[in-house]
Symmetry: C2
Subunit: 165 residues, 2 copies
């Protein structure tokens, strides 16, 4: 399979990765979430090739993840801003941050601290169930394919994957 074909797969992970799953896009999105907006700003921050940055921003705009806006005329200069669809990627970024904090933080602790203004505490991302609000572990969940009439379940001895049920 070629990378381009991912977009036409019937899997939400595949379709998501077709947009944001290549080598630099998530780093670009990190910068946008941290407030960067101009081409030069992102390029200098990541120090990536301008070619790649231009191409990635283009795809993100095509997909509606960012909007390109002129912030001045004469000469016209542009900035990139996350759309609501782009803002919806916040949980993805926070999940990545949390895994990095868990497994790659040094003695001095995580390099970036996230603060939740509503409750007044520094926090980390937690995955919870949209229905009951409780934390979700992969061992407590099953998956089924919408296209399948009959469902299957993995044997209990074969843990470490999502259960089919």
């Amino acid at each position: 399979m070629k990378w381009q074909e991912l977009a036409s797969q019937e899997c939400s992970i595949a379709r998501t990765l077709a947009v944001i799953g290549d080598r630099w896009t998530l780093m670009i999105l990190r910068d946008l979430f941290l407030g960067a907006s101009r081409f030069e700003e992102i390029q200098r921050s990541l120090n990536i090739s301008r070619t790649v940055l231009a191409e990635r921003l283009n795809l993100l705009e095509t997909e509606g993840v960012v909007r390109r806006l002129a912030y001045q005329q004469k000469p016209t200069r542009y900035k990139y801003k996350l759309t609501p669809k782009g803002i919806d990627l916040y949980p993805v970024l926070m999940a990545l941050v949390h895994w990095g904090d868990q497994h790659y933080a040094t003695e001095v602790g995580p390099p970036v601290i996230h603060h939740h203004q509503r409750c007044g505490h520094d926090f980390s991302a937690m995955l919870t169930c949209s229905e009951c609000g409780e934390p979700v572990s992969p061992y407590e969940t099953t998956v089924r394919f919408a296209s399948e009439a009959i469902t299957a379940r993995l044997p209990d001895t074969d843990r470490g994957g999502m259960n089919r049920g």
Copy 2:
């Protein structure tokens, strides 16, 4: 910046992406979470080049995300199993699924349905605060850098990014 240098950045997103942020790794992890474990199984499922699959599995093993286990002798055959560190990527995968479901699902709904056994409902991933348990929006959070003594705040007109505070 070259991709390899990401690992040495002082950012948890960068360090995470250095391990799982390339073009196929997250698809491989999806398969592992869905119960796939053998080389051939993953290769056929994704239809990716064997070269890339071998290299990716190697890095994942080096990083402790998967463990390579012999499941038979004569000839020795191996399977790959998520370690606890690998299982910790569940929130990342679920966040990707949810974004795909939100923005790329067709009329018939999401292709894969996730069921929370504890509460008995089909669910989607929700990001909540580790401290207060409430849902978190990027507009209600600020970030600060552990290395910085003085903190800064973005003006209110410049929304769409994490606030620094």
